[in-house]
Amino acid sequence: MRFTLAKATLLRHPLRTGLAILGVAVSAAMLLDMVMLATGMQVSFRALLVRQGFEIRLTPKGTLPFDTEARIARAADAESTLRGMSGVRGISPVLGATLHIVRGDAAAAVFALGLRPEVQGDYELVDGRHAFAPYDLVANDAFLMKTGARVGDTLTAAAGYDAQLRTYTARRRMVVSGRGRFLYLAADQAAAAVPLATLQSMLGGADSDRVSLFMVQTRPGTDTEALRTTIERAIPRATAIATADAVRTVEERLSYFRQLAFILGTVSLVVGFLLVSTLVTVSVQERVGEMAVMRAIGVSRPHIAQQVMLEGLAISVAGAALGLALGVVTAEYLNGILRSFPGLPAAIDFFVFDAGAAYRAFAMLIATAAVAGAFPAWRAASLPIATTLRTEAVS
């Protein structure tokens, strides 16, 4: 009967109930978005760093990947040392450099990654084929837009520029073999992947045996930290960074986001609490006479309070369900806006849906709302019957 009464009471004022549900939904959506934001970048960065299973990254001593123009010298020797270590399963060497795509008198500067397609973890192929042949090139959308090229086109790429002669040097004809999405680069950065040997050859000189970075896969059961230390000792001209450490560093730097998200999430909980509390209080104030009569005919205080709390709970649950859908849609929209921020890796998401965190947040919202209804409910159920009936009769 309590459910019947609660439902009938809510339906008695459909507009008010609808607005309350909408209010709770907005609050719930905001809470969900804050939860997604608090964990999103962290989860996204972690996923990005552990993608393809590269647990250790080797960079020039004292630098972060592509932080500077520095490179690891005697790359072949370093690679050989790494392959000799029992904990190493796979190695992906990567060389970063600027290439100029020459078309007539014009040239477009692009960022090129020299790598081995069979072990690479830097791009996802969207269309065409990997850059297996020495003259192959996989480009991203920004590259294709900047150069006006399409998959299948032949281009002239130059690795150098002679300022005196005003001419591009170290040229090579290359074919756009495929289109890719470069995970660690910004979406608006024109980039291309070419075979490592090709790029080393084009750069020539000392750079023919240099790389910017080694990405290392470990064997299952390997002590990553011990291997990292071993690598640093064996190759002193490089710094070895475990992905776990990198993730930790990123997480520390994202603490501001988490704090902001926590504050805003708390605000939305408070808003939800106040909304339900206000609605229940108003509803109860209108019905003190009814409640006094219910007590007079023998309905107990706890049952009256439960009925009122059920009303608050129904609004919260309905609002939370609607808020879930609203929050996901809003997050998708906001994510799209934030991802277009210049310089951010294309694979980074700001809002990542974590089902467990979302459900915990909603459970908290619903519990908060239930508590919000409890006090006005109990207060109304505790009014003196005779006095209340007399007051109602007079009014």
Binding site: M1, L5, A8, E290, V293, A296, G298, R301
Partner: protein, 242 residues
């Protein structure tokens, strides 16, 4: 007095005082009253004489400042709120001047409300609600909401609700106060039928016709009983409820 002649309801020197604007109002002063099973008693008196306050004490929805109220030998005035609530649920039926039906429930659901609280199963309470509404002449209006019923019909629903848990005692506070004369007469006839079927009734009223229909009329003035007269009806020794 033997058990079957013991009063159903007894008040022993009950008083009720209220603080009001810095003063104490003595609404009920030292009232001692016995109501027997099957009796039909009207309490009359001028406005403010304490009739409704006395009724509230009889129905355990208020506590006396002094004295005791006993129903079937149990002192209800000393009960906790939970005990008193449960006691009212199973032993006392209330009919109010303003009906006080739940506006969002149908007639049947209003009658079912006390039964649901008493733990009666859905099927049984639905059947009993239908039976009670038929008894009060509303068998075809079970699904109507109070807003779809006339004043008299609403009061009939309220009476059916009051009878839901087969109470030992039915208390009515100005049951014809909001009704027109014709409907009021119908209500008086219904009360008469209820009592004839064995329901013990205590009615507070300004309505002379209703007071005349009762077996016994208790006059109150200024919180005290000033007279307690039989209307010439024989007082039954006991009876069964509706």
């Amino acid at each position: 007095m033997s058990d079957h002649q013991a009063p159903l309801l007894r008040t022993v020197n009950v008083s009720r005082d209220y603080p009001l604007a810095g003063e104490i109002v003595h609404a009920v002063r030292g009232v001692s009253l016995d109501i027997r099973d099957g009796e039909y008693c009207a309490i009359v008196g001028p406005s403010g004489c304490g009739k409704s306050s006395l009724l509230n004490l009889l129905g355990a929805i208020d506590r006396p400042s002094r004295g005791a109220v006993e129903l079937r030998g149990r002192d209800v005035s000393g009960m906790s709120d939970r005990q008193a609530t449960d006691f009212r649920l199973r032993n006392i039926g209330f009919v109010f001047q303003r009906f006080y039906l739940m506006p969002m429930l149908s007639a049947s659901e209003n009658v079912e409300l006390p039964m649901a609280e008493a733990g009666v199963g859905k099927r049984e309470r639905r059947a009993r609600a239908a039976s009670l509404l038929s008894y009060v002449g509303l068998g075809v209006r079970t699904r109507h909401r109070p807003s779809q019923l006339s004043g008299g019909e609403q009061q009939r629903v309220a009476i059916a609700r009051a009878l839901a848990n087969r109470p030992a005692l039915l208390l009515a506070d100005e049951p014809t106060g909001e009704l027109d004369a014709h409907t009021g007469r119908e209500m008086i006839a219904l009360f008469g039928r209820l009592n004839a079927d064995g329901t013990t009734l205590v009615v507070v009223t300004h309505d002379e016709a209703l007071a005349q229909a009762a077996h016994r009329v208790v006059h109150m003035v200024d919180g005290r009983i000033v007279s307690d007269e039989s209307n010439g009806f024989p007082t039954p020794p006991g009876g069964s409820g509706a």
